[in-house]
């Protein structure tokens, strides 16, 4: 079975982001970029499925600027077989991403698409769901466990208050949660071998999809600074403040 894994290049999770002075967005100049951690988990899951002989080929796809090729190379070094790079400098919104991925799915005919549940830059948490709707495929989001049979997938999902287990007919869409697995480091020899793997370059127009934005960012602001706490001298004072100032008692 072929598995398709979309991967997104985002600001590295360790970077402390800064909002641009004009509040139009986040400052990306000279900021370290990496593969979205949830996408990394998706790649890892696909590689494990291949190692268990449940998958035969892993295709990774990224939509983004030239530099997104590095993200694809990282996925190839982790164990994916080949890449597709849909090159665009635009900011592509989840719906356009889902439409492009639909085009890739129609061309590649995978039995399973594994996506990160969300990207840590805009936290939209929409692409997997939209793709499932566009394709009319079943979906299991926030997966913490995936088991694959030839015609069905059994997916454990993390939901409020517990775990839910779904059985989906294939082909299907799965989005990954944090606890699905712990991604491996690409081994250094595999990083070198990855450069010999194929990456096909495409354009949004090849799929007849417009990436023109439909949403307008009005303003981006930093979260309010945490106020300093106060020290109380006695339990009495604490109870008094909880009652009369915080109003929680």
């Amino acid at each position: 079975m072929k598995v398709l894994v979309p991967v997104k290049r985002v600001i590295d999770y360790q970077v402390k982001v800064r909002v641009k002075p004009d509040q139009t967005g986040v400052d990306l100049a000279n900021v370290k970029m990496s593969m979205n951690p949830f996408c990394e988990i998706a790649v890892e899951e696909a590689v494990r499925l291949k190692e268990k002989n449940a998958a035969t080929e892993i295709v990774v796809v990224s939509i983004g600027p030239q530099a997104a090729q590095e993200t694809l190379r990282t996925a190839l070094a982790m164990g994916a077989d080949r890449g597709i790079h849909i090159v665009t400098d635009d900011i592509v919104e989840p719906l356009a991403v889902a439409k492009l991925l639909k085009g890739v799915v129609e061309a590649e005919q995978p039995g399973l698409v594994i996506l990160g549940k969300q990207a840590i830059d805009d936290d939209s948490n929409q692409t997997g769901q939209m793709l499932a709707a566009l394709l009319g495929w079943p979906q299991a989001t926030f997966a913490s466990k995936v088991e694959l049979a030839p015609d069905a997938a059994t997916v454990t999902r993390e939901v409020d208050g517990g775990l839910q287990t779904l059985r989906l007919a294939l082909p299907a869409i799965v989005t990954t949660d944090l606890r699905l697995n712990e991604p491996r480091y690409a081994s250094l020899p595999n990083i070198m071998k990855a450069k010999k793997k194929e990456i096909a370059a495409k354009a949004p127009a090849d799929f007849g999809v417009s990436t023109a934005p439909r949403l307008k960012v009005v303003k981006v602001t930093e979260p309010p600074k945490r106020q300093a706490g106060i020290k109380v001298k006695s339990v009495q004072e604490l109870v008094d403040k909880l009652k009369n100032e915080a109003g929680v008692l």
Partner: protein, 386 residues
């Protein structure tokens, strides 16, 4: 072979993440237990770290010197004990084989060295042969179709883990360097004995031991390079080794400085972060400038070597400057931390002890000066053409 522009950042990034996420959180445990956990050895094998400098034909990555030092800049950001795990395989333990091994010797050992299945050690130093390494008295005498080794080595890194020793032993009557040959000696041979790890100032987790040879019989093809050419084998690996150590000092200094800066920005005395007190700022600025100078020396020498230039002077100068530099950077870091730099919790006093050895092994600072001066006497112009 140099990494291409696309592969290099992925490679260095992976290494940096491994160091930050896996090695640095274990530093204190390793120092306290004097043991790098088995799981870390395994992870380093999986990552391919043992084979960075072994040619691709033998399963390694065959990094050029510039990529090697860049990798070391990253690896050395964690306690040097971790680097020591792979250090011998990257340098003195493998490069003699790469440069002087017969195809048969290379085929037998290098792929295991690259994968980390074989850990190597390099046995030159003896009780009476330290800086004066040509004074070795360990002997190898011909017997039948092989050689019999007798003698004692000391301070041998990774001896207690090693599967293969490169041993320098005297084979001829010629005095000094000319009578020395290099031998590939597998561990576990009858008569080969390893002492307990020495107790030392720093780098707990990395072990050095004495190694005794009592009528150790090795076959004829254990000879590495020509008979009597052992010292040349040793010295050829040293040029590369010195640059490697210099890179190690740069990586360590960058980590130590980062810690000191982070501390100075948050520690408040007299109402403001101490980094705003000029005498503290001055220490940090000096460390930063010296660190950049050392880094530039290492990179320039590495590029010159990759271009085919002999760099004995540049390698020794880089080793001398960078090992002294990291000593000063660590010393200032203790000062910036104040009492917290002397107390064990912050790890700064550990760094201070850990980096002290860099001025001693693979040639002391004094020996580096002698090498530099000897080269100056030969060709009074250092090469600035790279």
């Amino acid at each position: 072979m140099p990494l291409d522009a696309e592969t290099r950042p992925i490679f260095l990034d992976t290494l940096r993440r491994f160091v930050a996420e896996t090695l640095i959180p274990l530093e204190r445990q390793v120092a306290e237990t004097d043991e790098v956990p088995e799981a870390v050895w395994a992870q380093m094998r999986e990552l391919g770290l043992f084979g960075l400098t072994v040619p691709e034909a033998h399963g390694g990555m065959g990094l050029c010197m510039e990529d090697e030092v860049r990798a070391v800049f990253e690896l050395a950001r964690a306690s040097p004990a971790f680097r020591s795990v792979v250090g011998t395989n990257l340098g003195i333990g493998s490069q003699g084989l790469v440069m002087f091994g017969t195809p048969l010797q290379q085929a037998r050992w290098l792929s295991g060295i690259a994968s980390g299945a074989i850990v190597t050690a390099f046995a030159l130093t003896e009780a009476e042969a330290g800086s004066d390494s040509a004074a070795v008295t360990t002997r190898a005498r011909r017997e039948g179709a092989g050689w019999v080794l007798n003698g004692a080595k000391r301070y041998i890194t990774n001896a207690d883990r090693a599967h293969l020793f490169t041993v320098m032993a005297r084979t001829g009557e010629a005095p000094g360097a000319r009578g020395i040959s290099a031998f590939l000696v597998p561990a576990g041979l009858p008569g080969l004995q390893i002492g307990p790890p020495e107790r030392k100032m720093g780098q707990q987790g990395a072990h050095i031991c004495e190694v005794w040879f009592d009528d150790v019989l090795v076959p004829d093809d254990a000879l590495l390079g020509a008979e009597g050419a052992g010292f040349r084998v040793a010295m050829a690996t040293l040029e590369k080794g010195r640059l490697h150590i210099a890179a190690l000092c740069v990586g360590a200094a960058s980590r130590i400085l980062e810690e000191a800066v982070a501390w100075a920005r948050t520690r408040i005395q007299f109402g403001r972060p101490i980094i705003e007190h000029q005498l503290v700022a001055g220490m940090l600025a000096e460390s930063q400038a010296e660190l950049l100078a050392g880094r530039a020396m290492v990179l320039e020498a590495a590029r010159a070597r990759d271009a085919g230039a002999p760099i004995p002077l540049e390698a020794s100068a880089a080793k001398l400057f960078c090992s002294e530099m990291v000593g000063r950077v660590a010393d200032r870091a203790v000062q910036v931390f104040g009492g917290a730099g002397y107390v064990a919790d912050t790890g700064i006093e550990r760094w201070y002890r850990d980096v002290r050895i860099f001025r001693i092994y693979e040639g002391t600072s004094e020996i580096q000066k002698l090498v530099i001066a000897r080269e100056l006497a030969r060709a009074p112009q250092p090469s600035f053409n790279s």
